[in-house]
Point group: D2
Chain length 303, copies 4
């Protein structure tokens, strides 16, 4: 596959849409991002990295961190977590309490906010420091020893997180928290605030594309467990648009409100796209266009 | 009306049921209450007080405090509060988040937990100290200058209040809190923890029965505003059993999980009954039986 | 009480609002009604009838029929019906399926559509002809031997009743229908289509105000059972505005989308008001204003 | 791939589970099926068919028909249907009205009952006879010119379909039905009642596996549109267990309460398994075990 040529086609497809959509504005740190940026990076299973556009500009990883936190939890005690969170799609918007209440504090899956808070809580419980565990993982997979949490973003997330607090306390009232709610949320908000670039995210994504193999060749989790990561990306990786993404892109994807989307072609490559403008469902406009172009140009599809 | 004779009939009706039901057990302070207690007190608009049974034993006022907190808020800025809480019955159990989420953080009425938290928050905002305002009111109306919060109960409520925290943060996420959630909840939990006796509660209830007239003859709130207190007691004063109470008792009632129920006969009298054993809906078993017997013996009914 | 003088005050209060609100338009028969009509009639327990305005113009009784259907069912097998419908307020709009689904096909109360369909189904099951039973009752209580269903309205209701069909089949799927759904709905829609005037409705309402006593002095139902009618009117007689009506009017009320509202002062009188323009919650605008003025002028209130 | 060997492994894996689970019992025709049957058939893109067990026993196709009805609708007017039904996963059980009500009569996807009723309604609207259109398709793809609806099953479905009627009328009340509800349901119930064998279902499934190519080499629908069929099978093909199937099997699947599951390996083969015993979520127990064994033996997975 001539990835550089593919990337050229993606850039052409994305170009007319740069600047479209609305930057997330619930915290100042995200609202201040220049919307006219766009980047795409592809990391292959064989070790090459391709890219174009703003591939070196760091952004907040936000919900894409949920994939890596789940990988870490599964690598330790895979089965325990499935008592605390299910792995089914959610019919409700990504931060909805109705479903959580009807289902007695057990979130639908690890990629909606309630489920991700449970995963962060479990990772904190298992390791004593969820953020440190993720920091170690990101640094090792990307090779960037300075990769870290953006403390300004983290602080803002913490201050504006009333709804996530409601989620945490509701789960706590059903006995589904292992740490004090505020402590777990502190780790959760910092987990979402890692600064990462497209190139780095594509590299880290290889962990998923290669079913649990780390950059150093060691295995983080069993291939069978790693399949959870991609299966859940397909069914619930893009909020309330998972079905639309399955059709448009046909690859497992996970998006974040920072404007990035991570997609993987199992056993082949990992793709990171970034454009800060979001559509009404919270997915990057240019990111979606770019991944659609990528799938068309390569013919890659899991369906 | 020969109230002493009526009370005799009530005692006979309640006696076989003493000890029935389950004492609230979500906090140690309530779980430790001896279930074999029962008392009834009646305070008349003319100033007499009648009673029998354990009328001098203090208990936690719990949700009955919601009536008095609302009275205080209405006495200050009656109309403001109706932008923050509605006055319709709730179709959901008293601490349900589903309805609150569907209705964008505006509680159905001031007597379900979300609404009572809004009222406590408003009272705190208006006065600077919601608990002090209620303490002053209770002391003045009951004549007991030592009446106060049971700090052990308050502390337990605070520690076990995860679900109320979820409610508070959910309302905060919709912009419906005026104070920090934890501060408002601290006042709310202490408000629920006032220690009061049957006799005292009946005296305080005259404020409601007399449509806003205080014990000293001054007026706390306008007669028209006071009607809210009784109308809401009728439609939503006994959790999910308001319809059943309307039929069985036929008087405006407000119950609390401490085992007390306050009922009023407008312009005539206020009745406080107390028996710690609760039915599955959270209302005192003996309290319900007693009020039913009271209504039958007196013929009093608003219907 | 000088009712004629009271009615004069009511007419003055209502006059500025005549024509306000929107006529129900889901069926042609209701949409064609002239909105600039208004009438009020008062029937006293002693047998006098007072009135002014369009008291002799027939209108569709609609949901007010629910009170009388319930009275007939209670008069036969009072307790059976409470296994099929509860008597608690509903937190949802009057025709909502969500609550019905969550509560497994058992409606909240007999005055929301699902509950009224259950009552009609039971009345049909008990009598073989629910409409005939109601026709006999209305004729006897009003003295109008020609009072009958408006077949054009009934036919329109039947044709436009998709949502009520959904309700009926949902209850049927939970085993809560005794007759074929279409048959029960046919009786229900015709029950809602009785043509009645203000004067007649006030007379019929005495059955409720006098706690089950009929015009001929015989007793239709026990006083205790009759209390259900008024208690339910207070907590759920005016759709999603029961709390507001309790405050504004302070009397048990039942409204219909034909524009009428029936109110009762227990043991004293029955009041029927009619103005076709509805507020957004489905209650007559002039009707609400008129009842508020009536309550103010008489001082009558159950609270 | 040595499919006959793979099938041997599948038979060994399934054998210990034959007879497990509960046969669907809501209609007599399904309840009477002998639970101790099991079959698997594989049809390859190259035209071979492999199988073992009860591959020639006809069973009711039930919900698997939804895939083919959608294919026919997409082949005619692909875009129209997406205004009437979405393509997102559903968080609710497969026949739930709550979600349908909250989302104003627009079903989440074409594989839950409300969505399938919309698709049947559209197919009927487009063709004049939805059942005939499906019959033609099934006969052509399977080569069985006698393949037809089991009229006894269809009749039973029709008689027991109260909940689907509720769904149909609710959608009709929101304006989302093109035919009279009873007529559309008649076609829907008959569509679910086609008698088909494992071998035939595997052959018909090639239409999906080959992205819209028919047995005769003509194209029923565009490859891009055909992707909807598999994407939706992955996200919502197995009721409330889609996430679990994605993990266990890793292939697009669609199950029916008749006990069959259709799975496809895009561009390679179609697999039909059948065992009447269902797990609590409505998916065949042996079918799930068999597909898991198939995926393990072949290494096929879309993730």
């Amino acid at each position: 596959m001539d990835y550089q040529n593919v990337i050229g086609q993606v850039m052409s497809a994305a170009a007319p849409h740069i600047g479209e959509g609305a930057v997330a504005d619930y915290i100042p740190g995200l609202a201040a991002v220049d919307p006219k940026q766009f980047g795409i990076a592809v990391a292959t299973a064989e070790g090459q990295v391709y890219g174009d556009g703003d591939v070196g500009v760091p952004f907040a990883i936000e919900s894409i961190s949920k994939v890596f936190a789940l990988a870490l939890v599964l690598s330790r005690k895979g089965t325990v977590i499935w008592d605390r969170v299910r792995r089914e799609p959610s019919g409700m918007p990504f931060n909805d309490l109705i479903e959580l209440e009807l289902e007695r504090g057990i979130p639908r899956n690890p990629y909606i906010n309630p489920g991700a808070i449970v995963v962060a809580d479990q990772l904190l419980f298992d390791t004593g420091d969820a953020v440190a565990a993720l920091r170690d993982l990101f640094r090792a997979e990307t090779g960037n020893r300075a990769l870290d949490v953006d403390s300004v973003i983290a602080e803002s997330e913490l201050r504006s997180g009333e709804r996530n607090r409601a989620i945490g306390y509701l789960m706590s009232s059903f006995g589904n928290m292992r740490n004090p709610v505020e402590l777990a949320l502190d780790h959760y908000f910092r987990q979402c605030s890692f600064d990462i670039t497209c190139t780095e995210l594509a590299k880290a994504g290889l962990l998923v594309a290669r079913h649990g193999l780390r950059a150093d060749g060691s295995r983080l989790l069993e291939r069978a467990d790693a399949r959870h990561l991609t299966a859940l990306m397909t069914t619930c990786g893009t909020y309330d648009a998972a079905g639309e993404f399955a059709y448009r892109v046909g690859l497992p994807c996970k998006s974040g409100v920072g404007g990035a989307i991570l997609a993987v072609v199992p056993d082949r490559c990992s793709i990171a796209v970034w454009g800060p403008g979001l559509d009404p469902k919270g997915n990057s406009v240019t990111g979606g266009v770019a991944l659609e172009a990528f799938a068309r140009a390569t013919g890659f599809s899991v369906f």
